[in-house]
Symmetry: C2
Subunit: 365 residues, 2 copies
């Protein structure tokens, strides 16, 4: 097999998830679902229980996809990856469920509910729809503003988890952590209640760091079998996109990310000053080539801007061979970024009305 | 002042509540509200914040009364006292709010929600209405089956209480205790939300053992002032009616209580074998008289069956003087009990339909 320069195969820090915690590699489904860039390139690298989702997709049987958004800070290119995944699942036929975790953002980050509501619409739903989510085929709710069976499920789930189990995941406990954990379990499981879809395979696309929550929710689902009929929720796990300066891409650090509502000129500047995989001197780089694996700019090609693997390979090899220097490469990326944002922000304008409608669709106020 | 044999003045075990915890004696309102037997006889002996309720009643201004029922076991004569109090408040003009704590009974006592629902209707609501509650002027809900603003309030309140504060009341914590405490706070405070009455004096008639919960809820109300406009809830405190064998009257011990749906002959038998304040021998009793203060039978006269103070005084003095023996006295009480239950159970039949309607009135299922 030819070496794929565009495929991430090093799971590094994530190794333990497979060996200690029983996550399964996504490898086996990669060819079948290679139409999603993140799967094709090994960015989605693990799963739990995906076999039932695969069977549902292949058999054209009903299944659900649930995602939660934290209505805090701006929607950036890390979030775009999740959005692309949920849109992909929706197009594969998933009944689409989207939670705004406004109770969690209030209890854990002190964000007032009205502010969370605004952020959910402006930053999340507007971008989801602009990126291609069909709002007419999605169920959306705020944790603070929903229906009785959802709250009942969260409250009943409280009996199925011990303090020790929670401490293993959350460290020292607080009311806020407990309430947030139970709401998250209800977010994921309630689509399977008789008032919604009934028992149904459900998939949650998440970052690998979310696995403890997924495991807890699967345990809760299994233990609730005295009262509810629930499939254990499946999950797909992706690696994170690193930030512009290396390290974590974070909503709370504007230097680490570019928001999808960011002024295109400002985004351009951020790309131009991003950390690259370049060498100490131009001479050295011409001789040794750059290191795209360590380059924040290359990650934008890999995750977002270059869908054709051949084109990506070309960029990769230009870098590796030392035939392009970082300045020119960043300029190319900045052009792509600017074009993308200008186009996307037009779509955002069109999406805004639908986003507001979706936000209100389950509001009981 | 003449000595009132029918007035309980010994607050004994409750003394600390006044001196350490700042509960106030109800004495000052006793004359004004002597139409309620429990107030007139000192059974309602303490309060917090009743001044605002007094002002509302006197000024014919709006106020709310909230009560919670634990849908577990049978509705007995201890519960009847609470029911009489809430009916009295309703007749004084209170907006009447009644919670069935089915989430608490599930989490803390393992009672399945459908069973709790049945108990709430059969045992509680049916008896409330048969005793005189006007269901058309009452708001009723199950903790498991209500509206978003209620759940939101409970969740937001989670941020206002520390583990240490909860531990001081509940001992070692569990998810169940935390969820139950927060639900109880929302039960008491949500009538004041803009979606309900708006900010309004609210009174909760409870047993003296509930004071820690009242204090916690008052603290939560005060701390929530950044988001909600809430009067600190007021409370009236009654002493407990002792059980048939002395000690606690308990739903879970049929020998300690008589249920209001109990077969009248069975109730008669329980009265005939109740613990009295009689002496060791008939002779001794004729000489020294009985001790009504220690008599479970006398408590039925005092709390429930003899509303006229003169009649009660006569019974008290007959006992004290040794002119009536326990057998005859119990027979008299058993006759009253039988007559009461026969009459009450007819009213229960008539009340059943309204009770079912009330139970469903806020159901979102």
């Amino acid at each position: 097999m030819e070496f794929d320069p565009w495929t991430i195969t090093d799971i590094g820090d994530y190794e333990d998830l497979f060996h200690k915690f029983g996550m399964e590699p996504f490898e086996k489904y990669k060819a079948r679902y290679s139409d999603l860039r993140y799967i094709r390139r090994g960015i989605v690298f693990g799963h739990r229980g995906f076999d039932k989702i695969d069977a549902a997709i292949q058999g054209k049987k009903p299944f659900a996809m649930m995602t939660g958004l934290m209505p805090s800070g701006r929607f950036h290119f890390g979030h775009k990856m999740v959005a692309d995944e949920i849109i992909w699942f929706q197009r594969k036929g998933a009944r689409t469920y989207i939670a705004a975790a406004d109770i969690e953002s209030y209890l854990m980050r002190n964000i007032p509910l009205p502010e969370a509501r605004k952020t959910a619409v402006e930053e999340y739903l507007t971008n989801y729809i602009a990126l291609g989510l069909d709002p007419k085929k999605a169920t959306f709710w705020f944790q603070s503003d929903y229906v009785a069976p959802y709250y009942r499920l969260a409250d009943v789930a409280a009996k199925e988890v011990t303090f020790n189990e929670m401490k293993a995941i959350y460290g020292d406990l607080s009311n806020g952590k407990i309430i947030s954990a139970l709401k998250q379990a209800a977010d994921i499981l309630h689509p399977q209640l008789p008032e919604f879809e009934g028992m149904m395979p459900t998939v949650v696309p998440v970052g690998a760091d979310q696995d403890p929550h997924i495991r807890l929710t699967r345990d809760i689902a299994a233990r609730l079998n005295h009262t509810y009929k629930l499939e254990l929720p499946a999950a797909t796990f992706h690696r994170f996109m690193e930030g512009l300066q290396g390290g974590k891409m974070s909503s709370s650090d504007p230097k680490s990310h570019i928001a999808l509502s960011e002024e295109p000129k400002s985004a351009r500047k951020k790309i131009m000053s991003a950390t690259t995989g370049g060498r100490a001197t131009l001479e050295e780089q011409k001789k040794l080539g750059g290191i795209p694996e360590n380059c924040a700019v290359y990650k934008f090609y890999l995750y977002h801007f270059v869908d054709d693997d051949k084109d990506l390979k070309k960029i990769y090899e230009e870098c590796k061979s030392g035939s392009i220097m970082c300045g020119d490469c960043k300029k190319r990326c900045a052009d792509m970024m600017e074009a993308f944002l200008i186009e996307h922000q037009k779509k955002r304008e069109k999406a805004r009305g639908d986003a507001i409608k979706l936000a209100e669709s389950n509001s009981k106020k």
